[in-house]
């Protein structure tokens, strides 16, 4: 081992912080603030100040997450995971008491989504479990344990009911298992199982409105006022932006209120309309930079745990980016999956910053022996 392993850990290596990751987050956040302002200019409230506040808190949490040794987080992961499950159950019970869906927990006047917190805790537990299995490929029982770890919070979120948020747990499992190592035949089996599961979901697990959304996706004209209307308006907004866009705050589709939830799920439509294809390319390019930087961090991490932890965090974020951007151009059915660093949202913004901070923390400790 090199000599500097004896040195004190952590932040003396600040100069070696990953510039690509930090730069992409900073630029995406700035673009997000400007677009949220434009998207909410015709709404009752300008969401810019609130989103700026979330970014401020997020930045502080990022530094905090970066400062904590991720091994400490992994040691705590079971406690955090347990706490996450308890919160999910509490929300479920409170929701049942109010006779309807409740994805929000309220702590002293502050609302947040426990499913966001549970996502982070699940990544930690899974990273800890898989990093302990020091082998080239996983055995079936090990894979099943991993599936169980993810399935418990996923099902709890699904019955809230919040289909969109529960889908977020799938990429955690897929990304981390793939990296941890699975045999080809297991992959084939899993794909088959997914088809069966999807069919089962369609028949028993989905609400009428969710089925309606899928049907609408397949033929948008059937539901002009609901999801079909949204896809159509989103595509009109995106398409009419053409190469260079209509200009900041000048998007007629966005400003004339054709677009629904344009400050959250459809923020990219607003951007595409006002900044055109070039604006979209810039944003997608920044996400590519983020992905490349995070992958680089994973690849140079000190241990299996670091690699898997970064992989899990990155998988969630990638899924958000891919699904949301594909939804906006009408590739996939509409569901409430926001775009990291661009969409307005409290818990969601914080989780993205904490995740990024954790990645940076893994990176800073790449030379450090525990």
């Amino acid at each position: 081992m090199p000599a500097f392993t004896e040195e004190k850990p952590a932040l003396r290596h600040l100069s070696s912080i990953d510039g690509g990751l930090v730069l992409s987050v900073l630029l995406l956040s700035a673009i997000g603030l400007a677009t949220v302002h434009s998207a909410s200019s015709e709404m009752a409230v300008d969401y810019l100040p609130r989103q700026a506040l979330w970014f401020g808190i997020g930045a502080a949490l990022l530094v905090a997450a970066m400062s904590i040794d991720y091994h400490v987080l992994l040691d705590l992961s079971i406690v955090l995971y347990g706490a996450g499950l308890v919160l999910l159950v509490l929300v479920l019970v409170a929701g049942a008491a109010h006779g309807g869906a409740a994805h929000w927990a309220r702590i002293g006047g502050w609302q947040f989504q426990p499913s966001e917190f549970a996502k982070l805790a699940t990544v930690l537990v899974l990273a800890r479990y898989l990093s302990g299995l020091n082998r080239r490929v996983l055995e079936l029982t090990q894979i099943l344990v991993a599936v169980a770890i993810v399935a418990v919070p996923m099902v709890l979120v699904l019955v809230e009911p919040d289909l969109g948020s529960s889908m977020m747990f799938a990429p955690i499992l897929i990304g981390m298992l793939l990296v941890a190592g699975v045999r080809l035949r297991v992959l084939v089996l899993a794909a088959l199982a997914a088809v069966v599961l999807a069919a089962g979901m369609w028949s028993f697990g989905m609400k009428t409105y969710q089925r309606q959304r899928v049907l609408t996706f397949l033929s948008p004209e059937t539901d002009p006022l609901g999801a079909g209307y949204q896809v159509r308006q989103s595509k009109i907004a995106v398409g009419s932006g053409e190469m260079t866009g209509k200009g900041y705050m000048q998007g007629t589709q966005s400003q004339l209120r054709f677009l629904p939830v344009r400050h959250t799920d459809f923020i990219l439509s607003v951007l595409a309309e006002e900044w055109g294809f070039l604006g979209v390319l810039t944003v997608l390019g920044l996400y590519a930079l983020y992905v490349a930087s995070a992958a680089r961090i994973a690849m140079r991490a000190r241990d299996r745990a670091g690699i898997l932890l970064v992989t899990g965090l990155l998988s969630v974020l990638c899924f958000h980016v891919l699904y949301n951007s594909a939804m906006v151009v009408g590739f996939v059915p509409i569901t409430g999956i926001p775009l990291p660093f661009l969409s307005y949202g409290g818990s969601f913004t914080l989780v993205n910053f904490v995740g990024t901070g954790t990645m940076l923390g893994v990176d800073l400790r790449r030379y450090v022996n525990r």
Binding site: G175, S240, E242
Partner: protein
Amino acid sequence: MQVVREHRDDLIGRVRLLAAAVTGLLVLIASGFWFVQIAQGDYYRELAENNRLRKLPIIAPRGLIFDRRGRLLVENLPSYNLMVDRSRTTDVERSLAFAATVLARPLGDLEDLMERYRGVPVYKPVLLAENLSLAEVARFGVEALEYPEFEVEVQQTRLYRHREQTAHVIGYIGEATPDEIERSAGAVSPGDVAGKKGVEKRYDAVLRGKDGSRVVVVDSRGELLREYGRVPSAPGRDLTLSLDLELQQEAASWLDGPDKVGAIIVMDPRNGELLALVSSPSFNSNLFTHRLQENDWQALLDAPNNPLQNRAMQNAYSPGSTFKIVMATAGLSEHLIDERFRLSCAGSTVIYNHSFRCWRKEGHGSVNVVEALERSCDVFFYHLGQRLGIERIARYARLFGLGALTGIDIPGEKEGLVPDAAWSLKARHQPWYAGETISVAIGQGPMLLTPLQMAAMTAMVANGGYRVTPHLVQNLPYPPPQKVSLDPQALALVRKGLWAVVNEPGGTAYTAARVPGLDIAGKTGSVQVIAQKVRTKAETLPFKYRDHGWFTSFAPESDPRLVVSVFVEHGGSGHNAAPIAKALYQKYLSIEASHAGVY
């Protein structure tokens, strides 16, 4: 320190693969954007420019408001607004010139108005004129081909049929503020109206319907081609008030005119239903139904005596001699006095080395509690106050509901003030002076109550000690009349005294309020505005120095069905408030006669 050989290299390879896959998908999605924005860009730009699909609101009519006999108080009328879409004209000057001719308004006015919309995006239609006549609407319709930039917007406007007479009760509506929109949790959208005051505000959620919407296909001119889908609206619910329009109008007429400042409340003491509630000066609620109204608003803010303030519940005043109702009940309940107890009034008395005068210089002679109420003898109550002490007085005042909100179902009520030693230390940072108790005993100290609290207090005397919640909307679950621990025998004696005030020749309201055939019981009160060494006749004093006058009453004495409380600012004394109550009782009798037994 342990070093484990880990299978890292395999993992690293797979991470690289994963990142490559994600990047590949990003490229795929980017090509999707390329397809929509570049390859099909022309198509979508045309769609966006034509705005082929428009989502139009279907405005839900707001609920109507009726009085207790089903007479319409508030209705909705269609009103036409002229909107201009500046992106549809190349020559705004020409458009404005045309509009000015049709509307017969100076071109400069419209230009000034247009100047204010400088910051609004040009494709957003802006409001140019309100309340168009049907002839004007037709003119813009006929010229639509020549001037496509003008659009006539139909709106439901509130018409408050009785304007100033019901303004403080019903309130008004206006464009919802961002704050109201946020608090409504989705029920109110920008551009919607919301109740701002009175019943309109308190029952906004009931009166407001749920707007529907329809998606229509329009051509590039904005002409409707066909309907694409529709969500119907749900109209707001109508409200029936306990108000009796005839009584309300009679009451309003008594406080109508310059220098008529005050409040009148008519209430059913059995359940708290308000039959009339008037505050003067008032305002025309219809002024608020339009958006361009800055001058009118400023005029109201500048008007003397603040017409926007509901004096019946938002102003608190000294109770004056009406407070002797509380004093007598307290003395009797505490067994400090009984019906036989007598005290001699010589026109003044000395307590704590200070001389306190009775309003009647020559004195009242020997009086018991009934006579002391009848003639409003101050000396009797000075001594009773001394024996009760401020804490017991405050306790009974609170039992009568003073110092607390009555719970009336219109927003903005004030709670008044019941002073005691603790209050004095907290609010004034000085101890309570025993001498102040003597002033409070005749309702002159720091004690404050609203006319509405006065009516609620009077109702408790009338109904034998039940607290009722004054309210305007019927058939809602109000707290049921609540028994308060007041001695029923004490209240019976007080009622006897109040009956004497109106019906015995020596009573202070004998000439002013007696109605043959109806056993009215009541109490007068005056509130000094300035300290007077020598009593002068009210008429000789400048208006603003004249005393305020109270008269609070109920009838019939044996089975009370009506409480009438009148407060007249600078009315001189209670003698000037009493005739108003008398007129209202007479009105009530005539209404009752014409609707035999419907009350």
